[in-house]
Assembly symmetry: C2
Homo-oligomer: 345 residues x 2
DNA sequence: TAGCCTGTCCAAAGCGGTTTGAAATTGATT
DNA sequence: AATCAATTTCAAACCGCTTTGGACAGGCTA
């Protein structure tokens, strides 16, 4: 059942039927009622492909997920971010198109997506230092919103980010206030922007108290359980081991905990740990009382908001770039406490 | 730059240009060369929306991910499955459209996707017992492939699944061979088909050795770290605690390990554990030597193959439903061993 | 009564490709 | 030289919608 057939059945022109269904004013309320009734009865659904061609809009948003070709990691936060964004799209009649792309091919994909009119805009995932993609997208005039930021880019662009620097600064200060002086950082890979900012916040907090950062206590790895475990093991073997850890993700945090408990140390008593909690649905941080003290920020909510920003930018192309900085909460769990009295061994 | 303009520049008709670019034989090789050269020079990209309308094909596949409205879990295996499927789509010029849908609304979404011609086919995720979606999709004549199976559905349909029953049967037998008699199962939610099959395999193995299953040693929960931990704690407090565990996912397995080590027990020595390992990229099971003994099957590879099946079904609509059963490997890690001699406490 | 809005409706022209059916060209055959 | 088939090219229809630019009827004003 297409528009023409429906119009014929009603004895109306396609024009009128189209307008009736799309809420245009130049149609009498009585015929509008007739049309909507008939449309429902024959369960007419306008063909997406035709609408898209006729209107020149794709009614779709592209999410381009780079899979760094070397290590094929599919960042687990994407799933929740996309779930959040998907809610916004669904409400607004947009589709979500997902491209998983080896990152040496991204240029071509972006150009294609734009030139072929497959999507109306893009969410940029996983921004790096001086990320060249933003320049490219600006050049071809493609609306986009970055999830995160790209340190080094000077021209204004639209982004939505968590205040990673402040979150990690606060977390570090919190540990310092407990008397910790040897605080380790188990970070993500530091060509990723978020990891750079977290390190900065951590270093700022240390510097503000006049504490020199120890390179031995800073690791920068993929955020898997195993890497977290390994990094923590190495640090705990140190002559002057850390009394507290900062971990960049829940998953690293699980590995970290394993390393700690394996040594017979108790989390929150012998060793303090703060993680960053993206509030992933399948990795809840306890039910009522959080297990980990954490800097928390829902990546799902970030997805919702980033999608809203992008739709707004698409609707108002002339407007200036938008930015939104979400603050992470510092939530207190059972994984932090004062520095224990030195044990005699 | 569109087809008409390109044709004009070349002094050819749009027809010829279109055919030249699409490899039709009724075009001389010399003009084809001219056309392709010009297309590249002006970097002409045919408009997706126009192609879709003209050909009547969406060149897109829908992945409908149900978020059971009660518990908003975004299953982490989706990310890797989709990454695998995405590779196949990219190779074949298809887009991947992702809809995250509260599961009371799925009917409408499927009907819409079909009637509006947004996608050419569907991958059905997370099949349940007697899943009503398959019936619906058959009724409206929508090509689809199920990731998993739907016990209770009698009419043939296309699916790709891991042999969950055999995998868990083998895993259980492996533990039995080590002398374990109290073997616990930490399963996923048992309205999910895969969970039912895993339990079946487990029960079969026990029954074959004449061992009665103990309901206290079987839990059925969301597969999060915390649930795994809780379930394991409860079982370890049992009067006759299990000496071995089977866990339905790596994440449950992490919680399980925590419960074990928290009690001062050693994994693989005091307590044996086998998990199911979906080979998720961000949850590797060790590098060289696997940490967990596991039934392993790459969900990413499953995504690749399911996508291939679906594209094939779309290309040959008349063909019979296809099925593919992947066998899981049983890989031996460090988490299993013989039953320890009873300790005196 | 003519002229002018206003409110409804419609024919037709897009959107940018593909595809059908026919025309023009070429080469081989008689 | 004429005929025919094969090769190459093209004009036009089509996909199913939106949107432009009227047309038409009825009520008002001048």
């Amino acid at each position: 059942m297409n528009l023409k057939e429906l119009a014929q059945k009603l004895g109306l022109s396609p024009t009128t039927v189209s307008r009736a269904l799309n809420g245009y004013p130049e149609v009498s309320e009585s015929t509008r009622a007739r049309v909507t009734a008939a449309a429902k009865r024959h369960n007419y659904r306008p063909n997406t492909r035709a609408i898209r061609l006729a209107t020149g809009r794709a009614m779709a948003i592209g999410h381009v997920i780079p899979t760094a070709s070397r290590h094929e990691i599919m960042n687990p936060v994407f799933a929740d971010f996309i779930a959040g964004a998907g809610e916004t799209y669904a409400r607004n009649g947009y589709d979500l198109i997902l491209s998983i792309v080896p990152d040496d091919d991204e240029d071509r994909i972006y150009r294609d997506l734009h030139a072929r009119g497959t999507v109306d805009g893009i969410i940029v995932h996983g921004p790096r230092l001086n990320d060249p993609r933003l320049r490219l997208l600006d050049d071809i005039g493609f609306p986009y919103v970055v999830h995160g930021r790209a340190t080094g880019t000077v021209t204004p662009y639209s982004w939505l980010d968590v205040n990673n620097r402040r979150a990690f600064r606060r977390a570090t200060e919190f540990l310092l206030d407990f008397g910790h002086r040897r605080i380790a950082l188990i970070n993500g890979l530091e060509f990723m922007d978020f990891a750079i900012r977290r390190r900065t916040g951590y270093l700022e907090a240390l510097a503000a108290r006049g504490i020199a950062a120890d390179p031995d206590l800073m690791s920068s790895e993929e955020m898997t359980e195993l890497r977290g475990y390994r990094a923590a093991c190495a640090m705990l073997r140190h002559d002057a081991p850390p009394t507290a850890f900062l971990a960049s993700s829940m998953i690293s945090g699980l590995g970290l905990r394993r390393a700690i408990e394996e040594r017979g140390l108790r989390l929150g008593t012998d060793i303090s740990v703060i993680i960053h909690d993206d509030a992933l649905s399948y990795l809840p941080n306890g039910d009522d009382v959080p297990i980990y003290t954490a800097t928390r920020s829902s990546v799902r909510e970030a997805g919702r908001q980033a999608a809203e920003m992008l739709l707004d930018i698409i609707a108002h192309p002339a407007s200036a770039p938008q930015q939104r900085l979400l603050e992470a909460e510092l939530i207190i769990g059972q994984s932090t406490g004062p520095v224990p009295a030195p044990r005699r061994s």
